[in-house]
Symmetry: C2
Subunit: 326 residues, 2 copies
């Protein structure tokens, strides 16, 4: 059994409860809204963020149902961001399913994303007033938007450095993954060291996760990925592998690279060039090594926590984030 | 001096404070985000919702700065919804200014809308935990999205009834206008009758406001409107005047109406037909009379409140909503 399956098995009952919350908390009196929301929520994915909430709560000694609510909250924020991403990337499929805008048009898709955010607010309001979740998530959603705006704004800008990019992805992806861990931890502990350990863990695997995502866009079959391969490249989006390749290649290659990032270039030609460049400079290996570095720092941060099955699962999850194939 | 100018003058200091809050509360560490947000926030408009918060607070005896924060909150929710509307209507101009997607593309526009929602959440989190604003606004933003999704989904559906449409606009437009009044009122009173009076007032002028908006799309110069006239029609959006016209015209006219709602029809032809139909059946007069009915019910609801300058201003505002020319 893969390590990911083992983790899922360890918290199977919790994950079932999270799925129930997801359905229950997004219900609308309008059946069309219900249908559209269910389409994206069931589209699912790995439920990485809910898993992190549940495990972070457990490793800090909490076992109650509040973890399921917060797990549903972070997943809905994540799904809402994917829905908006798909609109703007004009993606036709996501995880092998038609996207909302393919089925019902852009307008419905943007509004369903907004609706999910509104439901998140309702869910947070319904919780006890003194808990830190709302403030954490207010900061998180703001940072996610800032990261996304800046990434969109910089699209096609060749001079983005690795550090700038790492900051953008820490906002876009890392913040919500870190928040998942922090929120779970808050349920079980007020110990500052433990809270910080889980936040650091989340930040580090968040960065690892995004770097691997960037790599998968170049190396995976479209089938496995459930979306178009080389999608980032064809939108002119600079990602970690491209930024690294650009930093090590020669001037002539740099110029060709700029050319193939233009969506008007012939696609087969663009892909062939990038593949040969990646081969030549060992780009995939470099990126995966970098990702593993983040995963290792994530695992190291867990040292202050009790050595429970939940902690072991978090450690395995950090390695899984790097080793996964889709 | 117009009644609207008189109202604005009565609360000029409050409105200055609201503008300051709007700038201060949307600041980002990224200068590009700042610039994009300022572009839409300064694009302004009448600040109807902030005016309602301030006047509703005053009529209930509240004069403090919390009204400015809540006024900024409702205005940002409103601006965020306009930004998303513009993306999806592919609008090039709004209130005479270029829209975000014209300046920086769709992606930036959708994300700036999301960013504004995130800032709203931050502003609400920073308030005292026991106030009802968050719950009211959670309900409101959810209803806004539902109304918008359903309106988008029903776009081109000819069989929408006047009652269905009135429910959609009470969600899309009415809820936030009503919430503006309710939030202001809560600052000054816990009296149930007063709170309900202001909520009813807001719901009624919200409906009046949307009906007049629908009419203006057909009757106003594009210049005054600051956007393309007949825009709703050309998108196949059924609005109040069209739904009324369809309910009174003959079968042949109904068929032609369906045809001109198709964006592929020649634009001049479509406009000419709709104008003649409106003339023949007195559509504009009928709609404005309906809107005035809502405004009158709004004013009547205020009877339980003390007869102060703030109440007088709210009464004037109800008439202004119907009489305005843009």
């Amino acid at each position: 059994m893969s390590s990911f399956k083992q983790i899922v098995e360890l918290i199977a009952d919790d994950l079932t409860a999270v799925e129930a919350k997801l359905t229950e908390q997004t219900a609308s009196e309008y059946s069309f809204v219900d249908m559209a929301v269910q389409h994206v929520v069931e589209g699912g994915g790995k439920r990485l963020r809910p898993i992190l909430v549940v495990l972070s709560a457990k490793v800090c000694g909490y076992e109650g149902s509040d973890a399921h609510t917060l797990a549903a909250v972070v997943e809905l924020i994540h799904v809402a961001s994917l829905v908006h991403d798909d609109v703007l990337d004009e993606a036709a499929i996501r995880r092998g399913r038609e996207t909302l805008q393919t089925k019902w048009g852009n307008k419905v898709a943007v509004l369903v994303g907004d609706y999910l955010h509104a439901r998140v607010l309702s869910m947070l309001v319904a919780r006890r007033a003194d808990d830190p979740a709302m403030a954490i998530l207010a900061d998180t959603t703001q940072a996610m938007c800032e990261g996304e705006v800046i990434h969109a704004y910089k699209s096609g800008d060749f001079d983005i450095s690795e550090n700038e990019y790492l900051k953008i992805i820490s906002f876009k992806t890392g913040k919500l993954i870190a928040a998942s861990c922090t929120l779970g931890a808050h349920l079980g502990t007020t110990d500052k060291q433990q809270l910080e350990a889980l936040t650091t863990y989340g930040q580090q695997i968040g960065t690892a996760f995004q770097i691997v995502d960037d790599v998968l866009d170049f190396t995976e079959d479209a089938d496995k990925l459930g979306k178009n391969a080389f999608g980032d490249l064809r939108e002119g989006k600079l990602t970690f592998p491209i930024i690294y390749a650009r930093s090590v290649c020669n001037d002539a290659e740099k110029q060709t690279l700029e050319k193939v990032l233009n969506p008007n270039t012939d696609e087969a030609e663009a892909i062939a060039f990038v593949e040969s460049l990646f081969q030549q400079y060992g780009v995939e290996t470099h990126c995966l090594k970098a990702a593993q570095g983040y995963a290792n720092r994530a695992k190291a941060a867990l040292a202050v926590l009790p050595a429970t099955p939940a902690r072991r699962a978090l450690e395995q999850l950090a390695d899984y984030v790097v080793a996964r194939e889709s």
